[in-house]
Structure formats: structure tokens, C-alpha cells
Symmetry: C2
Subunit: 411 residues, 2 copies
């Protein structure tokens, strides 16, 4: 597809370091990106991590041992999962465009399926019989039209959507690791999906999913998809979280209406009120998505899918601030030579750090305000923020605003 950058291919050593880095304490997709952009590679980032976290105020930061990561590779091998890094050919194309795309996913099954144009179908666990029937018909029609169907393997609508699209292409996204599928009774369906479709997880293979992992997982369900259909959702349902992620990611949002007297329809009706497209038949989805499928992908978050040869992740662009040159990640050579930047080595580094920290507080501050007020370079500010984040003392809101939080273990 045009506009897709030339894929990278990690060496075994690089893949090992990537996995180890993303499994570190306080390292999420954003921190991972900042570390890679600052240090030029995962290996160098791992070496820098303890010092960075200490400067951010942490007594220590937990880095998994080589043995632990070897065990995870072994667990993946046993279950038939393989790790695919963001930027590699098999990484799902739409997923790489989202703001918090996982640097590495573990995938079972056919990697081609999540790279197809995809529609997510999600809904209530306690779905009505009508909703299940509708999900079934919808998934079949959408599958017949050439789309893959993504969902979350939950009881009710999700499982029905998977089952109805097994033959045309289905993708289950797990909240936990591949070795800990949830709900447990879905294990037989999951095995069929792994055999005929694809199963995706960003979590450690042996990770037992907890409550907060489910909303986090939902951003991947929408991130994989051109559009999301909410079949039935009560107020406060997890499906509404998927719809919110979809809207934030520039994906189309569809909702299936229901009687106002049925509380299971309340969330979907509310979505329609707020602008979701009403969906009463597959054509409603197909007509709206067809132009996107032809165009290849939504263009809302575009720079990663831009020109071949661009950096793996775009620089963090701050509105109104001229971006200083920073170490660039070049395909091929990008993970070999750590450039080990730090503001520690220069004059006045501690003073800069102190100024930035002094400007931060419990209420979110725009990063560009921070850069202006601290009279520091964007690069230095970014490094201080990285330090604080690794120390668990920083919280992002909306991607461009940061607030200080009190973390356990902070100095």
C-alpha cells in the first residue's frame, strides 16, 4: 500500500532488547518511543535507564533480567506466538498509526489477517438474544465483504462476532498474555481463532489480566480497525471505552440502536446521540468504510505512515515550538550505536532539571509552556520528563500535558 514506510527487520538481539525494554517498570509505549528516539536503540536505553530513573527521583527501577526475557521467549515459542516489532512488515498497519502503539506485539496465527482492512464488533457480555443474532449477521456480512473482524473475546457479542467471522478472518485481542486467556471458558474458541485467524496481545505471555488491562486492551481493538461497531452497550460498558478510543484514533464509530426501555441499549443510543453512525445493517458500515479502505487508512494520525525512510516514530512535535535536532533513528543502523544523550554532562544541567520540576505540579501543564517557561531546549525538557516518567513521578494527559504525581519510592 502506498505511503507505507519501508519495513524494518530487527535482529534477534534487537528483538530481545526491545522486549526487555518494554517490560521495564514505568516504560510504556510513549516512554519506549522517547527512549528510542533519545538513545538510538533499546540496548543503549536499557543501559541508561537506571541513571535516568535515579535522576528522576526513583530509588530504583525494575529491569527484567536476561533470564526472565529468555523465559518469555520460551513461553511464546511453546504457545506458538511470535513477537513483532512496530515497523516490521507483519506489524498491523493501522495499529502502528495510533498514539500509543505497542512497540512489540505477540501474535498467534496468521499475521496477514490483522493487516487487512478490519472492522471491530464489540458489545455487552450480557447481550440480548437479538443483539447476539445481530452481531452474528453483521460479522458474516462484513467478513463476506472482505474485512477482517476484530473483537475482545469477551462473553456475549464479542465471542459471537469471532465465531461468525472465523472463516473470513477474525482477530482476538487479549487483555492478558497468550498463556492466560480470559474468560477461561473461551479457550476452545481461542484455539480455533489461533488456528484460522489471529490472536494479538501486548502483555507478557504469562500475564494474568487485571481489571485495568481491559480498557487498555480496547485501544488495540479500535486501533486495528477502520471502524468500530458497538452492538449493545449499557451505560458504563467497556464497549463505550472502545468507542472513545476509536473516536480519538480517528476511526469510524457505529452503534446499533435499541429500545429506550432496554438498559442494555442505553450506551449505544447515547453514542448515536453524540454522533456515532446508526447501524441497523451491514451496509451502513460498508458504505462509510469503503472510501477509507480504498484510501488505505485514516489520515488523522498520519506522519508515521508518511514517507519511506522517515524515523520509526516521528519526533514529539510541540505546537509553537521549534524542534531542536535530536538523534535520529535511521532504518538499518538505528539500533546499533547508542548516542547516550544526557543533560547531566553539560553545565547547568541540574539547574535546568530543577527549573522544569519546579514548573510542574499536580495539575496538567502543556509541554510547550514548560519549554518556554524553563528557558530550556525542547531536548533537555524531554529528557527531564523521561527521567520523571521512568521514576513513576509523571503523568501525561492528552499527550501534550504533564502533571507531577507522587510515586512510591520517589526521593
Amino acid at each position: 500500500m502506498s505511503g507505507e514506510p519501508t519495513p524494518i527487520r530487527l535482529t534477534d538481539a534487537q528483538r530481545f532488547d526491545w522486549l526487555r525494554l518494554i517490560r521495564c517498570e514505568n516504560v510504556g509505549p510513549r516512554t519506549f518511543r522517547a527512549l528510542l528516539n533519545s538513545y538510538g536503540g533499546a540496548h543503549a536505553a536499557l543501559r541508561a535507564l537506571p541513571d535516568l530513573a535515579r535522576r528522576g527521583g526513583a530509588r530504583s527501577v525494575r529491569i527484567p533480567s536476561v533470564a526472565e526475557i529468555e523465559q518469555e521467549f520460551e513461553a511464546a515459542r511453546r504457545i506458538g506466538a511470535r513477537f513483532i516489532a512496530l515497523g516490521e512488515a507483519d506489524y498491523p498497519q493501522l495499529l502502528r498509526q495510533i498514539d500509543s502503539a505497542p512497540p512489540i506485539i505477540a501474535l498467534r496465527g496468521d499475521a496477514e489477517i490483522p493487516r487487512r482492512p478490519c472492522v471491530a464488533i464489540v458489545g455487552s457480555r450480557n447481550a440480548s438474544a437479538a443483539a447476539l443474532t445481530f452481531a452474528d449477521r453483521l460479522a458474516r456480512a462484513i467478513g463476506a465483504a472482505g474485512y477482517a473482524v476484530a473483537s475482545g473475546l469477551a462473553r456475549g457479542v464479542d465471542q459471537r462476532a469471532h465465531a461468525a467471522s472465523l472463516e473470513t478472518g477474525t482477530i482476538a485481542v487479549l487483555a492478558g498474555g497468550h498463556a492466560k486467556p480470559y474468560p477461561p471458558e473461551a479457550a476452545p474458541l481461542l484455539e480455533r481463532i489461533a488456528a484460522q485467524g489471529a490472536v494479538v496481545s501486548e502483555m507478557p505471555i504469562e500475564w494474568e489480566p487485571r481489571g485495568r488491562d481491559f480498557p487498555r486492551r480496547n485501544r488495540l481493538v479500535s486501533g486495528l480497525s477502520l471502524g468500530v461497531v458497538i452492538v449493545e452497550a449499557s451505560r458504563g460498558s467497556g464497549s463505550l471505552i472502545t468507542a472513545r478510543f476509536a473516536a480519538e484514533q480517528g476511526r469510524a464509530v457505529f452503534a446499533v440502536p435499541g429500545s429506550p426501555l432496554d438498559p442494555r441499549a442505553e450506551g449505544a443510543n447515547e453514542l448515536i446521540r453524540n454522533g456515532a453512525t446508526i447501524c441497523t445493517k451491514a451496509e451502513d458500515v460498508l458504505i462509510e468504510l469503503e472510501p477509507m479502505r480504498e484510501r488505505g487508512a485514516p489520515t488523522t494520525f498520519g506522519d508515521e505512515a508518511g514517507e519511506p525512510g522517515e524515523p520509526l516514530w516521528g519526533e514529539l512535535i510541540l505546537p509553537g515550538v521549534e524542534v531542536e535536532a535530536a538523534p535520529r533513528v535511521e532504518p538499518g543502523s538505528q539500533f546499533d550505536e547508542p548516542s547516550a544523550p544526557s543533560i547531566d554532562s553539560g553545565n547547568g544541567a541540574d539547574a535546568t532539571r530543577a527549573r522544569v520540576i519546579a514548573l510542574l505540579g499536580p495539575s496538567p501543564t502543556p509541554i510547550d509552556d514548560l519549554v518556554r517557561s524553563a528557558q530550556a531546549s525542547i531536548r533537555d525538557v524531554r529528557i527531564v520528563l523521561l527521567e520523571l516518567e521512568l521514576a513513576g513521578r509523571l503523568e501525561y494527559s492528552g499527550g501534550n500535558r504533564v502533571a507531577l504525581v507522587e510515586a512510591e519510592g520517589s526521593a
Copy 2:
């Protein structure tokens, strides 16, 4: 309310002539308006009618006898209905603004109720239990908020909406005459509405409603209302006609969603798809209508509600055409002196008529094109159109386009 013209009050003789004129063959609200604007009063129009129709090509036009109209007044008296003319104080204020407002309505009950801010609640005759419950709750909440509730007395949703708003104010609009309520089993409910609310009909008191009278009636249900709520409607349901009238009349359209698997919800879901406001609770309606209620009325069709002292109906304004001075209807004096215009008296009148008729065909032609191509005055063209309409040879589409039809009895 500001902007409302000074009410007129018809004499008994005028009221008699108005009723007689509107009961003439081929005289609908539009023709009635054209006749009154051309002849200055119903009495003069009645005298001119036979000649006009003959010139339009009819062998004869049926004008009810004085005895027939006397009988209708007597039938109205017996059933407790009275005739209210457009422009009189008791004529419902919103209704007078619609394009095809009936010149006379027959009203039983409290004339104050249809002059209140009003919401129409309509829906399926074969409504689901859920729809009936919803209609009941909605009508109660809307009534409690100070709105009258209008509907069509049909089985199902309509009757439920009436029953639930009996105490707060309800208006039944009949497709037939007051003496022939439909459906017959609604007679007890109708009597309660007449006692506590209001019943409106534009048809002769003894008129037995036929199929085509129901859609015609629906324009009054929406015309009386600031907004229309469609509670449940299958594809092709009469409620959708009410919704279409409401949209044409500039009224708010609300629809109650339902499961895509329930054919009774298909029409309402389709309305939502096409831009109707989704209604799952009374607040959805109240929030949208509150500003209209405060403003007094929709402003889409505004000229009638403009300045006091304006003609009873505005001139037929043709886009791009300068309107020639025509006999004006002045309040008070307006129905006394017929000015008896005709193109018959001038030179070349037959030639003008022939040119206009030659320009007409079975496909609709814009009236302003007609005026330009016939090189005739707008007044003369209007009179020719009136002649043809009275002869049953003219059909309007969209208000500003006319087509020739073959009528029985045409020369």
C-alpha cells in the same frame, strides 16, 4: 405573543360563505387562498367560481347548496363543534403558519389547548408493549412540562399518548368529520378528549374518512406542533408521513430507536439515520423545544405571523419575479366588496390563457418560468392557474411547480 397579527372575527354570513367555499369541488386550502386574494372575499369568489371553472375547461363545478351548509352547521351544533376561521383568535397559532393551513377547522372542546406549545406523539397501530409504555411515559413527562400533546387517535401509540395526556392537555386530530370518528372503538376515548381536551377536524362534520384522508390529516398533527416524536414506525408507516410533513413545516423531528431486528423500529431508525433527533427520554424533546417555545414559534414559514395589518395570507411570492399589485385583503373590510378580477374582460385574454396552457404539460413546470415564457403578468398567470385548478386540471408539486392533469369533465 409578539408578532401575531391582530385577529379577525368573521360575521355569521362570512363564516357561512367561507365554509361553503372550502366545501366546493376542487377548492383546497391553496385555491381558497388564491380565490380570497383575487376576489377579496368568499362571497364574491363563490359567485365567480362557475365561470372560472368553465374557463379552466370544466363543464361544471360542484358548489354545495345553502341547505347543505346549513345542515353542516346544524350537525356541528348537535355534536358541540364550532367552526374557527384562519385568522380568528381561537385558530391554533402554529397551524396558521403552515403552507396548506385549513381556512376553517371544526373544533370540539377547549380551544385554548391547541393554542399552547404542543408536541405530537405518533406511532404504530401494532405497537409493541415497550413502545406503548414509552409513549405513556413520554406523554406524561411532556404534559407535565406544560406542553399539549397532539396525535391522531389511531390504535396503539396515538391512543396511548392521548390517554396519558388527558389531564395535562391533549388534542386529537381526525381524518374524517366529527360525527364519524375513526377508529369506531375509540369513541369513548374521543368523548373524554372532547370533554377535557380538544378535537380538531377540517373535514365536513359528517365525512366518513377514506384512506387518503389520513396522510392529509397528518399535516395538521405536525402543523399544530413545535415538534413530532415518532415512537415506533415500520417502513411505510403513516407516522413517517407525519415526520415528513413536520420536516417540511420546519418542525423538530424526534424518533425513538429500536432493535434493528424489530421491523416496527425500522422507520424510526431510518429517521434517525436521516437526521431526526434520537429520543430515549422526554428531556431529549424538552431541551430541543424549549428555545422554540420561548421564541413562540418556528420561523421557517414566517410571513403570516409577521406584522399586524398584513394580508390574511401573504401573496404567492415567485422567486425572481416582481409581484404585481393585486387586490389586498384588509382586516375588517376584507370580505365585503368583491373586486371580481378576471382576464376575460381585457384584450387578448383568451390568447394569454392559451399561451399559459400551451406551456403546461404533464411534467411539473416552475411557475416563474411560466410567467416569463408566457410574457403575461403574474396576476394573469395566477388567474389562469386558478381556473385550471378549479376545473381539476392542475396539480401542484412542491408549491411552486405545476403540471396539467387530465380531469374527468374537462372540455
